[in-house]
């Protein structure tokens, strides 16, 4: 859903308003923190990179272009920021394949609400099935259903075109449905 105040906060922030920046920070810190932790699996690294990142956003606020919504911008640039930090740490030079290799989101059973709306996802092995999905599909699922981004934003964050992002989500759900029905066949 579109956040009516995003545009206003963004404008005030560009003028250097710390109050507006604190709203932006407090709104997005928790979600970005969880995303960072999912990617890096390290608490300290997540906290440090997130502070650096927000400082960067504030210091470079004048160069930022006007935005429809802030969320996709923050997710995609924090993702880049974090990947850069991870690369520096692991001293890997090759650039292109890194994202796919680094981002391998794992889900744990406690993270899933027991009362799932869909019959398919009520299956007790759903966490295992989720973790078996290809990395890109896992990230797309995470961004859509955990972070609440729409397909357009997910495409932006994952640096895909709209159609590939949509296909990635569809394939993930299709895979899960198939795996669940196989499990049901075995157990029946």
């Amino acid at each position: 859903m579109k956040n009516l105040s995003d545009e206003y906060v963004w404008k005030a922030l560009k003028e250097g308003d710390l109050n507006a920046f604190s709203i932006l920070y407090k709104t997005y810190y928790p979600r970005l923190y969880n995303y960072g932790l999912k990617i890096s699996r390290k608490i300290h690294l997540t906290e440090d990179t997130l502070q650096d990142f927000f400082l960067y956003v504030y210091e470079h606020r004048e160069n930022l272009s006007d935005l429809d919504t802030i969320a996709p911008y923050l997710f995609s640039s924090y993702r880049r920021h974090l990947i850069r930090a991870l690369k520096k740490k692991s001293k890997i030079v090759s650039f292109d394949e890194m994202d796919v290799k680094i981002i391998d989101i794992q889900f744990s059973p406690e993270e899933l609400i027991t009362h799932q709306e869909s019959e398919t996802f009520k299956n007790k092995n759903i966490t295992t099935l989720l973790n078996k999905l290809p990395k890109r599909q896992k990230e797309a699922i995470y961004l859509k259903y955990y972070s609440g981004l729409n397909t357009h934003d997910i495409a932006n964050v994952m640096e895909l075109n709209y159609q590939s992002a949509a296909n990635t989500i569809h394939k993930a759900i299709k895979n899960l449905r198939e795996e669940v029905s196989i499990l049901q066949l075995i157990n029946s």
Binding site: N3, S5, K26, Y29, F54, S118, A166
Partner: protein, 332 residues
């Protein structure tokens, strides 16, 4: 309903009537789609795949607490201020100490904003207008208290709390003792084992929304009601009846206030403004009657009144002026 071709997943996903069927929000759409599936058995797989995409997977949000975020924010704020000062080369360390002291006094004041009743066993908390308070009760349950609300309980029975105003509860399940948790209001009692739910007693009724788990309501007229996740029930003891009941409400509409925003979906402006009045203790005056029915959709922050009002002004194209405790709303 217009007959269309549904060949790809996308055709279903962008179709409003399909979405209504999935979420069971409109009966005519439910009938239409049940018949459609019966007539198009070869597309059944596609339909259910699209349905799962819309329903999605529900995650628990495991994120840093607001206290933690506040702490990291003040660290960053100090860093930004220090950097700005460095740039302008007005180095004055004493000034900084003062800012630090002022900030810690402010922090103490805001932490101390709840009142701690010193009578031997009654423990109570109260919030001012515009303030939201996160509490941890003695038994480990978490309570988020909305603005202008209060809650109290007795030390010797800390799983029975009295509420005026609005609060969101995350009750710890006591597996060993199976002890119940109670929330009491003027209209009803909520009986809980371990779950998360929202209770709102504003405007002479009590509205309960259940996010997760199971709860029982004991209404003041003697009737009992079981609730399942997504249910919303509003009961008034003045009228002695249930005044509103919804089977499935998305959690964000009822509980977004605790994360500092209110989310509206096609809500008339007059009702949206009511929420702002409740939060800040203001009275709204509509200069133009037809402004009242303008529909508003989207989220607004409630932690900052001026930004909140600007967001509303912009989205429904009205002018809102704040005069003391009044909000004057008129056409632009």
């Amino acid at each position: 309903m217009a007959k269309k071709n549904y060949d790809t997943i996308e055709d279903f996903l962008i179709d409003e009537s399909f979405n209504n069927w999935v979420k069971a929000t409109r009966l005519t759409d439910v009938d239409f789609w049940e018949e459609w599936i019966a007539c198009n058995p070869h597309k059944k797989d596609l339909v259910f795949e699209a349905k799962d995409i819309v329903l999605g997977i529900q995650f628990m949000h495991i994120e840093p607490s607001s206290e933690k975020v506040d702490t990291t924010w003040s660290l960053l704020e100090d860093k930004i201020k220090a950097k700005t000062l460095e740039k302008s080369k007005k180095k004055s360390p004493n000034y900084f100490k003062l800012v630090g002291i002022a900030a810690s006094i402010l922090l103490l004041v805001s932490v101390g904003l709840y009142t701690f009743n010193k009578s031997p066993e009654k423990i109570s908390y109260k919030t001012a207008y515009g303030e939201v308070l996160n509490l941890k009760l003695m038994d480990g349950s978490l309570v988020t208290l909305n603005s202008n609300s209060s809650i109290y309980y007795y030390e010797n029975n800390n799983r029975k709390v009295w509420l005026t105003g609005e609060a969101f509860f995350e009750v710890d399940k006591k597996i060993t003792t199976n002890a119940k948790f109670w929330v009491l209001t003027d209209d009803l009692n909520v009986e809980v084992y371990g779950t998360s739910f929202n209770v709102d007693t504003k405007h002479k009724k009590t509205a309960v929304f259940l996010e997760e788990g199971n709860i029982w309501l004991e209404l003041k007229n003697g009737a009992t009601q079981k609730m399942v996740p997504g249910n919303f029930i509003s009961y008034s003891s003045v009228d002695s009846r249930i005044i509103e009941r919804k089977e499935k409400v998305a959690s964000r509409f009822k509980t977004s206030w605790k994360d500092g925003s209110i989310i509206f979906e096609k809500l008339p402006l007059v009702e949206a403004i009511q929420k702002i009045e409740d939060t800040y203790g203001l009275t709204a005056i509509f200069k133009d009657e037809d402004c009242k029915s303008k529909l508003i959709t989207g989220g607004v922050p409630i932690t900052n009144l001026s930004i909140c009002l600007k967001a509303i002004e912009k989205s429904v194209n009205v002018k809102i002026t704040k005069l003391k405790n009044q909000l004057i709303i008129q056409k632009k």
